[in-house]
Symmetry: C2
Subunit: 222 residues, 2 copies
């Protein structure tokens, strides 16, 4: 069985989980506490990060974007990066936007301050960091509004890895109850469309021990 090493609140792991489901590929989840720096895991990925995907035949893949590109090449039943080079470039530009820019400015600081600090015994959340991340979030949600005024999905006419990457990050923050949906109607409408896809169901059923999600997290009518 294909195995995905992940964390519950790693947007990069969630990106691969959604992509695998969109393609109808079976896999088993394995939680990896990367901060324990387990030797067997470092042998799979010397960067020490999730996600890591181990294919049926033992082939090991690391780094979320390398995994997604691989899956789109090897299982082309449903292409999620795009069909022509221009659309593929736009999809990849937006995937980088979420994974790098939104990650640094919003999702990484929020997940770290609100969850990881406690796990790692690094004191209380820093409210200034949380406040800045929330301010940044508004700018990114305005960008989703701008894009969806012009396009059906974030990168163009088709649902793509750009939507998957954005939903992966945003679903982590929604799990933490950090999004005031009424302030962001366009992002809400786009996310409602993503959330209703069968590929999102397993994520919406996530329930981290000791850290339950708010009630609206799994609700399609939120």
């Amino acid at each position: 069985m294909r195995k995905l090493y992940h964390h519950w609140l790693s947007p990069f792991s969630r990106k691969v989980r959604i992509l695998l489901k969109e393609k109808g590929l079976d896999f088993q989840l394995e939680v990896e506490k990367t901060w324990e720096r387990r030797e067997d895991f470092l042998a799979l990925n010397p960067a020490g990060l999730v996600p890591v995907l181990v294919e049926h035949d033992g082939h090991v893949l690391a780094e979320s974007q390398a995994i997604c590109e691989y899956l789109d090449e090897v299982y082309p039943n449903k292409l999620l990066i795009g069909f022509d080079p221009a659309t593929r470039a736009e999809t990849r530009r937006l995937v980088s936007w979420w994974d790098l820019k939104f990650g640094r400015e919003v999702s990484e600081p929020l997940v770290f301050e609100k969850v990881m600090r406690r796990f790692l015994g690094q004191g209380h959340p820093e409210s200034a960091v949380i406040r800045i991340a929330h301010q940044n979030m508004k700018v990114h949600f305005d960008y989703i509004a701008w894009l969806t005024e012009r396009r059906t999905w974030l990168a163009g006419d088709d649902f793509s890895l750009a939507d998957i990457a954005a939903a992966a990050h945003i679903s982590c923050l929604d799990y933490l109850g950090d999004i005031l949906w009424e302030d962001h109607p366009a992002t809400h409408d786009w996310y409602a469309r993503v959330k209703s896809r069968p590929s999102m169901r397993p994520l919406l059923a996530d329930h981290i021990p000791g850290l339950p999600p708010p009630r609206h997290y799994a609700d399609l009518d939120f």
Copy 2:
């Protein structure tokens, strides 16, 4: 004429410069002072970052990895991401290693502390940050040694975008005189092979006004 908006010490811009030369594609360089947040540039890339590539026909591409993937798809005369999915996944894993991990841990802090602080009027370099980046650099150079003991080039038998990304970051640090080459013989030998490629010549001729490189920077026998 194809135009690349860049900074001299942006590893991401250098990655695209080397790739374009490897493929024999002509282009014109245009320095973009991204910190000025010029409106016409933000219209090209709302993330406000270099590199941005404007193709002959006006098609705009942003985010270095999206640009490189596009060029490898549209100009396949010399494939630099690899031929089969497994090699392509390994190339992309290593590109992420350099662009994300090495970037965060080594090249971004060093370029910021040693160059950008002055340009931006943000005071003196923080020596603790520089010391930690130098310690991190050793770990990454040991990884190059480990890889090149087992492979001809970083991702396998062929020169690839993994070598280009690594050389892009390392050439920035070498421009700053931050690498003690005698401490890293395996990385030295690999970099000497990269440096001797014609695609590296334009970078080795770089000369930033007010910030000349050390003499060995352009020397193939360093």
